[in-house]
């Protein structure tokens, strides 16, 4: 997936968890809890949804790495990247 595809998919899952958010108004640097007011349960719902969508299990220690859309896209790109040498 390209970074743009990952961002679109991430925003889809985010707006599914918080349906009254408008994807068009969410900035890449917006903090999910401080700016978008997601609470603990929203974050865990999002972690589950990202796992289902990307096949990436995000441990508690990595929650800081999905704290904004920009951070999350970089994190998901890293975790979904094919290992070097596998082709494709």
């Amino acid at each position: 997936m390209t970074h743009d595809e990952i961002r679109r998919a991430f925003l889809e899952e985010l707006t599914h968890v918080a349906p009254d958010l408008d994807a068009a108004t969410i900035g890449g640097g917006d903090h999910l809890q401080d700016d978008l007011e997601l609470d603990s349960m929203d974050i865990l719902n999002l972690v589950i949804a990202l796992n289902a969508r990307f096949g990436v299990a995000i441990p508690e220690a990595d929650y800081r790495r999905i704290a904004t859309p920009d951070l999350a896209v970089a994190y998901l790109a890293e975790k979904t990247a094919k290992p070097a040498g596998t082709g494709g």
Binding site: D20, L21, T25, I26, G27, D30, H31, D34, D35, L36, E37, D39, S40, M41, I43, L44, N45, V47, I48, A49, A52, E60, Y63
Partner: protein, 223 residues
Amino acid sequence: MTITVDLWLWPLDAAGDAACLSGDEAARAARFVRPADATAFRNARAGLRRILGAYLDRPAADLAFSYGPEGKPGLPGGPAFNLSHSGRWAALAVTAEDIRLGIDIEAHRSVEQDVARRFFSPAEIAALARLSGPDWIEGFFQTWTRKEAFVKALGRGLHRPLDSFDVTLGPAPRIARIAEGGEADWQMADLATGPGYAGALAVEARGRPLRLALREGRLPLAP
């Protein structure tokens, strides 16, 4: 000697007087993307300052909060307090005792069953597995608010693994297990929030009896 915990409830959706907020709080409110979130934050903080100012006989604007590593606000010198908000309501627990306490209220909403399966402890998952439909939702939020109240009392946010302790499901709220021990030091109480909400309080009572005093607002909460 009985520990008294005062409970304060107030609505977040009315236009409130936010003049008492600190510069940091006003800036934080201005960051919210959704105007309703900013209004709720201002009303929560203004209410918190008004109430705690009355305990200390000081103007609301004069209070200087300290913040724990995960952002839990406190007041050096007391009183101990914890604030929660969800849906239309804020809930504040305050005690004069120098003890840890946490409160959580949650408006029911749709939730992935995987949240319980992935994050709750095996004992909690087994207890919830006996429920289905609306009973499962009610049981989930009962479990969640009890767990969240304990985690908030510790001030650890999501960095405390949720499967490292068990809370009970059903009419006798209690912490049944803590991985490192000490569960007997804690007492829990459910808040009679009524349909559509759940709420719980966790207090490090160390064997002392607990009394909950409703000081403002009404239970059950209006939807």
